[in-house]
């Protein structure tokens, strides 16, 4: 067994697509709330730096998006008060909150996803459907630190031959352009060496195979199966449960079948948290024996 981040990246990607897909596509506050809970719990559990900033950002974003809707949308029958003769309605406020929650939730999931997927994993997923784009991506990722380093060296070399003499803004821009231009020539000319090095090692001659450090284990298949089934079941069982915001709020009562559907989605969004908790406990136990 592994922590959620160690699952096969394709399985992880599919999981994220399905979870965020349901959050975005299904217009149902219960789904959004459940998904929000899962996303926040998972983020808290993974910890890491910049956590607090992330939560504060989400809070601010939530309030801003929640506020915008009632200000511009005057649908709805329950008027709360007027601003500049424009009615602010309860329905619009509630819809705004719901929509804001959805956005915040999706962003939580995205940030959790980017946190898990390092460049190796992304390239693996990319390579699965387009090896060529994956290779360009891999080369670009290799060039970025190389060029940044180069840019620094060009900048020092140019400073020492008297660039940036005046120190004012046009001089700085001119200097920046010069540095960038020199670096571009360098990058393009040396890029040919990379191309030669690729050809010398047989690139473009025949059918490429693919080597990755990732494998599919049984639990990866399990994750894929769980994700697909849970998504299908939850969407299917709740299909008759429709929330209506405009013109007036209508919250139909939740049937037992609906409840099962929400439970299925709940299991899905909580999967990473449960999995990692289990791993943590197991690891503590194992470590206690060392």
């Amino acid at each position: 067994m592994r922590s959620f981040a160690e699952y096969n990246p394709i399985a992880v990607t599919l999981y994220f697509i399905l979870v965020t897909g349901v959050t975005m596509f299904v217009s149902d506050p219960i789904f959004t709330a459940v998904s929000f809970l899962g996303a926040v719990l998972f983020t808290l559990m993974r910890g890491g730096e910049g956590q607090l900033k992330r939560h504060i950002f989400s809070l601010i974003l939530f309030f801003i998006t929640a506020l915008v809707n009632p200000l511009v949308s005057h649908n709805g029958v329950t008027v709360l008060f007027f601003i500049n003769d424009n009615p602010i309605t309860l329905e619009a406020v509630i819809y705004g909150c719901f929509n804001a929650l959805m956005i915040v939730t999706v962003l939580y999931w995205f940030s959790a996803f980017s946190g898990i997927m390092d460049s190796d994993k992304l390239l693996y997923v990319f390579g699965a459907f387009s090896p060529k784009v994956a290779l360009v991506l891999s080369m670009a990722l290799r060039y970025i630190p190389l060029f940044s380093e180069r840019q620094k060296r060009v900048r020092s070399a140019q400073t020492a031959v008297g660039l940036y003499k005046d120190g004012n803004v046009p001089d700085r821009v001119r200097g920046g352009v010069r540095v960038f231009s020199i670096m571009t020539t360098w990058a393009l000319e040396k890029g040919i060496v990379t191309a030669d090095s690729m050809s010398a090692r047989g690139y473009g001659q025949g059918r490429r195979s693919r080597f990755t450090p990732f494998r599919f284990y049984f639990c990866d298949f399990l994750l894929i199966i769980i994700s697909v089934i849970a998504t299908a079941v939850s969407v299917w069982l709740t299909a008759d449960h429709k929330f209506v915001f405009y013109p007036a709020l209508q919250f139909p009562s939740v049937t037992v079948t609906n409840l099962l559907g929400y439970a299925a989605y709940g299991t899905l969004v909580l999967f990473p948290v449960i999995n990692d908790l289990k791993e943590e406990i197991r690891w503590r136990y194992l470590r206690s024996k060392i």
Partner: protein, 543 residues
Amino acid sequence: MEILKVEDLSFCYPGEKEPVLKDISFSVAEGEFLCLSGATGCGKSTLLRLLKKELSPKGDRSGRILISGENIDDLDSAEKIGFVMQSPDEQIVTDTVWHELAFGLENIGMKREKIALRIAEIASYFGMSAWYDKKTSELSGGQKQMLNLAAVMAMSPDILILDEPTSQLDPIAASEFISTVKKLNRELSLTVIITEHRLEEVIPVSDRIMIMKDRGIAHLGSPRDIVSRVGDSPEILASMPSAAQLYHAVDGEGQCPLDVREGKRFIETGFRADHTALTSEKYTHSEEKALEFKQVFFRYAKETQDVLDSLSLTVYSGEAYFILGGNGSGKTTALGAASGLLKPYSGSIRVFEKKLKEYKNNSLYSGCLALLPQEVETLFLSNTVREELIDAYEEAKMLPIDVDTLLDKHPYDLSGGEKQLIALAKVLSQKPRILLLDEPTKGIDAVSKQRLAEVLRLLKKNGITVVAVTHDVDFAAMCADRCAMFFRGRVVAENTVREFFSDNSFYTTPINRMTRGYYSGAVTVSDCVELCRLNGVRDGAAV
């Protein structure tokens, strides 16, 4: 058994009238270590590229190239022939070490399980397991070049071609690289064809040497044989080991020495030692301080270690001061600090007795101080040499090359040595009184090195102070007035050049090692020649 056979090969680049290669024929046996040498522009790189189908330049080719008896055109040579080039950085394709190792194997469509096994083998053989998961950008230059070699070897080629593989490496990484290649050659019976600027390391491990000249093969044979025959062409001799240069300079006869051990025997059995030292004038310097460091501390980031650790040194006006030392000893950092690019957190740096801070608005860089960076390409902005030299034509005219023939070329199309000199001209157009050089001999051939030494002598004559950072002890011995040894961010030894190298046991020139305990104070070939002449041939010795 012959693994490679070249028959009457001629080659002409499109648009050129004269061919670069003409009627070249030779063959290489399996498991042979062949070293290819010749002046810059003699066509050795073209020849190497013609041997590797994927890299063959476009142009008119005649003659045949046979690999294991098969014509190269009918053959997929990606697997059979490995090719390693100069630059450690640009040859790397992907962003991680493991992916780089797997890259070639993926290209030939090898099965996943086999790739896993092969790269495990290669990583173990090259001792790379510890950095298997690293990003390629985090490796050192030496590690990068080793990775390039490993990535090529992963495809288990029959022939390995190396085009100046160590020219961008420091001496320690370079010698490690060459010994790894030799190990592959010995343990796997791998056929190796190599070109190099520095032959000191390569000649002793080569089976045969091929010297190219005038578009063809001038000499081909065993190292000893060839080295004793190149006395008549100074540009080829310049790249030879010091012992061989000495042998030719004193018109030696008999067996030509190739390394320090043989050189020592050659001197001691051939020449008397009545005068053990050269009479040299006592070194005097001017009183004006051109550059002064006083207890300078510097680190790149708060959490890291000090790179300059209470560094103090003084360079006097008009002298050539060379800083030597291993990687990470703070040499280049000191140069950065001296040129005001890096700001120390404590201590003071003065240029011509004025604090760096007092040079307002970068006035330091006009008429006072100039820095020639390690990568001279960082100075080239234009599409032609002519445009590059707009403000520096006067300086360029002074250089020992014919600038006018280069004017219409693109700076990137110049040879390493030419680039170096053009960049130097640009830097000199700032009319500096003190010139800082960062690894000026990196990647240039022996002849260019001599030219550069000439330029530095000329500059000194014009009263310009030179401060250089280098790994190249031979070059330092040739040009310096005083040398300093850096270790862990400070100067551990400082002396005039002869005394400096005579006091060192390891970090010194091959000539000094050869004459150790026999003559004293000999550091360059010409020192030794002078001493030999002074003492005369030992009675009955065959010199």
